[in-house]
Amino acid sequence: MDLEYFLENYSMTGFHPYVVVNDNTGVNVEVNEADYEIWDVKSKKGREYIKKYNTQKNTFKEYTGYVIVVKKGASVPIQTCFLTSQKGFVQNVQNLIVLEDDCEAEIFTGCLSNSHVNDNEHNAVVDMFVGKNSKLTFNMVHSWGKTSLVFPKTKVYVDEGGVFLSNYIVWDKVKTIVMNPKIYLKDNAKAVSKALIYSHEGSDFDIGGTIELKGKGSSGEIISSIVSKGGKYINHSEIVGEGVNTKGHVECNALLVDGGYVEAIPVLRALNSETELTHEASVGKISKDEVEYFQTKGLNKDIAKELIVKGFVNSSLKNMPDEVSKKMKDIIDGVKNGF
């Protein structure tokens, strides 16, 4: 896939501003407005915020990244894109997203490598702070190369009454992704983390996450959907019920189209008798009944299977933001080589 195609089809949602970071160069746009700020992570202001929020330690020698701060009362959509365009390049990123109290932000991130670039690597440390009664929707579509290695380390802190919604999609080939964000919730905060992954032959995924329900009345869900056509996918999703009157749910659904290794490990840890934690998982091949049903409608087996996979994906996209599900539907409808 070339860059233009990606930017047009995967990443461009019409959100403004559009922050693009290529390899380890700095951010292309800095903003200092009443509603929000965007800074290069290495800028003076950027460094101040990193220090103020006591983020994860950044041990990179060379790195790039952004600091986004959304101010109290504001509501902003922001689009970002990280890409690598040199063979063998190791991109190191530190990002910080801060939502002050009583504000809202929707961030759409596309991450990719140029199609002719092999053996690249993307490392990241990401910290997100969602203030009291604020809401952050974080949408991420990954499209790295089939030889790419991807290792983001994300921590999310949600203050009282805050909401964090994450929608994460990997559809194209990639070599390795290890991504297990940790989300910490204070009183009455809520987090829903959804992922839709297409596992290709040769791919190796370790994707899941942890939600710690620290505050009373907080709730969290981790919902993963996997279409497996080879490769290895391990999902380790954990919810820790620490506060009283907390609720957590882990769900993992995998559709085995053609081989592949899928391992779903739901972990529920109750540290309090006033917590309610549930999980459900299903791993299985395409239903023969459904294929036959579509055959009785005159469709051949391959088309029937394709329709069922699309149905599975549509179900997974349900309740995701319109621009995410629409983008995904466009991408999937555009799959030329079938499933």
Partner: protein, 240 residues
Amino acid sequence: MLEIQKFTVKKQEKELLKNINLSVSKNEGIVVFGPNGGGKSTFFKSIMGVGDFQVSGKVTFNKKNILNLDIEKKVQLGINYMYQTAPLVKGVELSNLLALMKEFKGSLEELYEEMREPLKSLDMEYLFDREINVGLSGGEVKRSELLTLSLLKDSKMYLLDEPDSGVDIENVKRLGNFINTMVKGKSYMIVTHSGEILKYLNPDRGIVMINGELVFEGDVNEILNEVRRNGYSNFSKKEL
């Protein structure tokens, strides 16, 4: 048209249908009667190739052996099947299926326009963009299934498994009239328990299937009256 000879069907070594012999002519309508578990649904499914059955014997359609053909090849030959209980398919909207069946290249809005008339005739415009059979009532499922059935091209024979079950009286009339139009000039076999839908059709004869055997063949009304009076206890092999 459809010739069935010494047709035996097993599932995991259990014999479900035994030595069925039946001939269905062009434009002929046959009602298949029988108690629950008698083998009626298995009969249709195994002709169609739906489900995991071991079949033996001979089944030809217009002299072509169809026993081991893929389901969609049978559909292409003109044999169309309506499930008693159609599966629900999460995430796939009826409109997606209609577009594929009609090989429609336009937008969904254009497809809706094109489908407006048949959708309306089954009072199911609102089901156009719903997931297939998900959360629908029994009657809605039947209407939806009939709609897609009616779209299949070059139909020559319909196998209709209880199209009226779970359907209220008013809708039985609607479905009956729809089926009557659909099967005009075609052959069909229909399973019904209530017989209500037969008011709107004009079948030629009835057959009774009990314990996987075809035990009786005769006039539809006679069979229906006997079933209503005495159930299936008086039907036996010797009456054939």
